[in-house]
Subunit: 340 residues, 2 copies
């Protein structure tokens, strides 16, 4: 009988779990605030998956500043998973494109640190085994732009630092990017609002009154998004007219869109070169993440319309539940394809 | 016998107290995290000043996003002071240049909200009763640039929103401004480091191993400043060479200096006009705040060397203790000059 594998994606703000059979769960968890609670939170998350035969792990949470170094972060995260594994085998995805056991993962911590983009790209490569693909994964905090050649990740950077420098990791997402990152010193240099508020106010993302994972802990509604943005101009929700916060929201979203446009455009020459080496000339864009809507908007612009032959949506392929935990589902699937 | 008056400056991150007789105390207090604890924290702060006959208050803490509106913030702060006043009279400075009683303050909340710059400028005006003065007060979070004509504040804006728009409130200070505000999307869009780390790394401010009021809660030392800045480039203190964080620190500080230079320079035409109306042609720059060192650096540049005849340091005038609580000392002094 085939094994059931539970994939885990352990980030700095969210824990995600998914089996290769398609069940998935996610939970917000502020790792940087309470690293000692990680094992407990993981245990709660994976208890419903007691039938899984083994665990496959990827992470980004090691970059949290509660850990003095990435080495410490990787060790802490791997140990937490082992603590809740109930003696099931644990494997960790590495940017070499293979799984490492837990000892290897702790030893070669830079190969497993922030490797979830690589797991996702390897998984996505399964959809486009021939041709040139650009994976545009816009998450809550960051955007991964991963070139894929004949189904294999073909990025130039492996570490966060290198990937940021090379434009493969763009440090903006649809949720957590602070408004001050875009507004700079033209507004309050405070963590009063995020780009999520801008998207909320412009109606690009749905309101959710139950969601209080916001800058001020008030609900993710347009009303409160207005309030949060009003503080960025030294106002408050009553004093500041909504046209002012609307203008601010448009400025934030336009800057975000321009940034992403420019970074994707900067990769086109590289994709064009890769095409010489590809087994097929077809060019795919694969969009994914909670910011998929933004990626779709981008791809309606030139030069992207002319360049890409096809667009694939991971959300459509996987459905909402699995795509919300896509890197976890990716490592589960990759592990199932690579039996122990 | 003359009254002893206790001045209080209630900010979002610090509580400051000073008497008109020159005793002073300050305590960090994260008002935005624990508004319900304000009265308790104030009580502890002012207990050593039991001999004071009355209380004079100014604030900026009402802008914290724990308060839904500035109105709520002012009411909460005024009530907290009343709770710990032990029936002593309480007065609140207003941007009309007069004190309000607590009922008036709650009613006319916009006149007392964020009025501490006005209290400080009115106090500073006492040093330069004839001529044109620019007060450059660089604090931990913000910088106030206040024109003073013949000893009276002569700013065009009164509210935070107006003052930001008019360049009289510049939202940067030497301590709390997030590094991401200056670095934008060229670095991690996270609250991993502040400009304080840049100043620490460049040796412009002293290390303090006991001070953990930093982005990651680790000490305010050069070593840990390097660690905090390393995360801004996706690295960690071990992986990232110190020359990289040094470069980052220089970029942050240069941008901050340029911003402040430009904003001060933009006020020169207005100061020149004011001079036509002044009772004396002399032009003063008064520097103050924990970022006074930065203001002094600025004033060594043109056009400031040519424009200002004289520079006064509030830190030198008041000494380190009172100047660290300057707005509190200012309201205490102003209240003593205006007996009930």
């Amino acid at each position: 009988m085939a094994s059931t594998i539970l994939g885990l994606d352990i980030g700095g703000a969210n824990l995600k779990a998914a089996t290769n059979t398609g069940r998935a769960a996610s939970v917000p968890f502020a790792l940087w605030k309470q690293p000692a609670q990680l094992a407990h939170a993981l245990d709660e998350l994976i208890t419903p998956f007691a039938d899984a035969d083994e665990l496959a792990v990827t992470m980004t949470g090691e970059l949290c500043d509660c850990f003095e170094t990435k080495r410490d972060g990787v060790r802490h995260i791997v140990s937490a998973v082992m603590n809740v594994s109930r003696s099931r085998p644990v494997r960790v995805w590495s940017t070499d494109g293979v799984f490492l056991n837990t000892n290897e993962a702790k030893e070669h911590y830079l190969k497993v640190a922030a490797a979830n983009w690589h797991a996702l790209a390897t998984f996505v490569g399964g959809y486009t085994p021939r041709g040139v693909t650009l994976l545009i994964d816009i998450g809550s905090t960051t955007t991964d732009l991963i070139p894929i050649l004949d189904g294999l990740p073909w990025s130039e950077g492996k570490t966060d630092t290198a990937r940021m420098r090379l434009g493969e990791l763009v440090y903006t997402g649809v949720r957590r990017t602070p408004a001050t990152t875009f507004l700079g010193t033209t507004a309050a240099a405070e963590f009063f609002a995020t780009v999520h508020d801008a998207h909320l106010l412009l109606g690009s993302v749905p309101e959710d009154a139950a969601d209080t994972d916001t800058a001020d802990g008030r609900p993710a509604t347009r009303l409160h998004a207005h309030g949060r943005l009003s503080r960025m101009v030294g106002g408050d929700p009553v004093l500041t007219p909504e046209e002012d916060t609307q203008r601010l929201a448009r400025s934030i979203v336009e800057q975000q869109r321009k940034l992403l446009h420019d970074r994707v455009a900067a990769l086109i020459p590289r994709l064009r070169e890769m095409r010489q080496a590809a087994r097929h000339p077809r060019r795919y864009a694969v969009v994914s993440g909670s910011g998929e809507f933004l990626a779709r908007q981008l791809l309606r612009d030139q030069p992207f319309v002319a360049f890409f032959d096809d667009m694939l949506s991971l959300t459509e392929r996987l459905g909402p539940e699995r795509s919300a935990a896509a890197p976890a589902y990716a490592v589960a699937t990759l592990a199932a394809e690579r039996p122990l």
